[in-house]
């Protein structure tokens, strides 16, 4: 736990806020702050993962059937999209550290593009669910799933719980993606103004942390929602 050193007049840019003694202290504080925030996000999503776990154990058939009704191609594409976006983020942090402003801006924009691609594909998936009457609520109807698996009894109220959790989890994840895109739009704007370089790139770093986290949530959501049971049917 580093204490701040005895304060000495330092040359620092305008980015050093006055309550911090040194740039290092500011950067450490920002980084720790973001990690702690991500810990709270883990707890936030964790409540839903807990509910998911319990209901999956109890309603396995309905969860498996619901999972198979999702489009695995689109889900896989989205996973790849997000992983690519994390790559552009990581490369962006590096570009900032190396002072390559133009490259940084391109990478940030690419990240945003990937983010929109993800949301677009998710939108298509949700629209499919809407057409199939799998959106929970008054219009929910899982007759198609019931008929698809005649040898297994599917309880529609259990099936609705699967889809409730599906929409809650992917919905909150998408919300976090939208916020992430907003953050990156802001970072792009600041990067265009030349704000980031080797001496100061903390916002890129902590924005990147946030984006990676949202990506990792998806890495968990994908197998849990899409890959419950994809074995060929007996």
């Amino acid at each position: 736990m580093s204490d701040s050193p005895v304060v000495v007049e330092q040359h620092h840019g305008p980015e050093l806020r006055h309550h911090f003694a040194t740039v290092e202290q500011q950067r450490d504080a920002s980084s720790l702050g973001m990690w702690l925030f991500l810990a709270t996000e883990i707890m936030f999503f964790g409540g839903m993962f807990c509910a998911y776990l319990i209901y999956r154990l109890n309603y396995y058939n309905e969860f498996a059937a619901g999972s198979r009704s999702l489009d695995i191609t689109l889900g896989t594409v989205n996973t790849i999209v997000l992983i690519c976006s994390s790559l552009t983020v990581a490369l962006g942090v590096r570009a900032a550290q190396m002072g390559k402003q133009k490259l940084l801006v391109i990478l940030l924009l690419l990240t945003i593009v990937f983010g929109f691609a993800f949301l677009g594909i998710k939108g298509i998936e949700w629209y499919d669910k809407y057409k199939e009457h799998h959106i929970p609520g008054a219009t929910f109807n899982a007759d198609d799933i019931v008929h698809e698996y005649p040898q297994i009894h599917i309880d529609q109220s259990h099936e609705q719980i699967y889809f409730s959790l599906y929409f809650a989890m992917t919905g909150l994840h998408a919300l976090h993606m939208i916020i992430g895109i907003g953050i990156f739009a802001f970072l792009t704007y600041e990067a265009l103004k030349g704000k980031y370089g080797p001496q100061y790139n903390t916002p890129i770093e902590i924005g990147g942390l946030y984006w990676h986290f949202v990506d990792i949530i998806w890495i968990y959501l994908f197998p849990l929602l899409y890959l419950i049971d994809r074995k060929p049917l007996r």
């Binding site: 319990i54 154990l57 109890n58 058939n61 297994i152 009894h153 599917i154 309880d155």
Partner: protein, 329 residues
């Protein structure tokens, strides 16, 4: 005790005294500890008050003291824990052969059904000296069946059965309260537990216009809904023969084994595919929405009656109360 200023309710069950004993111990312990702390503070505050003691002695601490006053309380707490746990264990383990009475809670009343068919609203008549087990469910929200004189309470949940048991020791009329907030008339959802001498109780039982015993009702519903078509009394049926099933382990399709208790029977009626018996197909129709709570109660009693000496010994050796659908909670 003190009639004009009572400190606890009447003790009218076998368990009440045990609860009160622990309570009195805890009151004495708490009083002793509180008084000890108060006196210490008072002594220090007065003895070492500023006018009297200008100079404070700097004392860092004492590991020996820390250990002492951590270990001793911990030891006392463990004693309390074990004592409390033992009482709880007894409270949650109904004895074999207890008479079973069904309770259906709804906003804002208690509906009670004796196995002999006698029905009551907001009142429960029981004989002194008999083990009574209540099997309870709710038609809407969570309620809680609380009898202060017996020192027992159990939440009553929609969608499943929970149980509590007691043996009354003193004839009299005692409060029944709903103890889980359930809406507008939560404080009006109260009633009476009427404990009678056995002879009086018998008289009361046969006095009312009983509409047949619960199990007999259940049998007629069983026929009426067509259950007997598949659940025949031989091995030819498309569903398992229910004779002798209640209270025994059942092997399921997916390899699990469960005990056929009240919750199992209820679930099998409302959501048959949840636990399909090994060797049978999942073709039983779903009766969710087609049977009322009262009918479910009667059906469960009927299935129970098909097992010899089973009425009153539901869910026997396993220690889980009939209220647990799964152990995760």
């Amino acid at each position: 005790m003190f009639d004009n200023f009572p400190l606890w309710p009447a003790r009218a069950s076998t368990g009440a005294g045990n609860v009160d004993a622990l309570y009195v111990f805890l009151v004495l312990l708490a009083t002793f500890m509180s008084v000890a702390i108060f006196i210490m503070i008072a002594i220090f505050a007065i003895r070492y008050r500023r006018q009297h003691n200008r100079h404070a002695e700097q004392i860092e601490g004492s590991t020996a003291l820390e250990i002492t006053w951590s270990v001793i309380p911990l030891g006392i707490f463990m004693v309390i824990f074990v004592w409390g746990a033992l009482i709880y264990f007894q409270e949650r383990t109904p004895p074999q052969g207890a008479t079973e009475i069904y309770v259906v809670a709804k906003q804002w009343m208690w509906k009670i059904e004796h196995p002999e068919g006698q029905r009551e609203i907001n009142e429960l008549h029981v004989p002194v000296g008999r083990d009574i087990k209540l099997i309870m469910t709710s038609q809407d929200v969570i309620h809680s069946f609380y009898i202060p004189a017996f020192r027992i309470k159990q939440d009553v949940l929609p969608g499943r059965y929970t149980t509590e048991w007691f043996r009354a020791t003193k004839p009299g009329v005692y409060h029944l309260f709903c103890a889980e907030y359930c809406g507008t008339q939560h404080s009006g959802m109260i009633g009476q537990i009427v404990v009678m001498e056995p002879a009086q109780y018998q008289a009361w039982l046969t006095g009312g216009a009983a509409s047949g015993s619960l199990a007999a009702n259940g049998q007629s519903i069983f026929l009426q809904l067509g259950c007997s078509t598949c659940h025949r009394m031989d091995t030819q049926g498309r569903g398992p023969n229910l004779a002798g099933v209640f209270g025994k382990p059942v092997q399921l399709e997916d390899g699990r084994t469960v005990i056929a208790d009240e919750n199992y029977v209820r679930e099998s009626i409302l959501s048959p595919s949840a636990k399909v018996v090994s060797g049978f197909k999942p073709i039983m129709p779903v009766f969710q929405g087609l049977v009322s709570e009262d009918q479910l109660t009667a059906l469960v009693e009927y299935v129970k009656s098909l097992s010899p000496q089973q009425s009153g010994a539901a869910g026997t050796p396993s220690l889980k109360p009939a209220g647990t659908r799964s152990e995760k909670e």
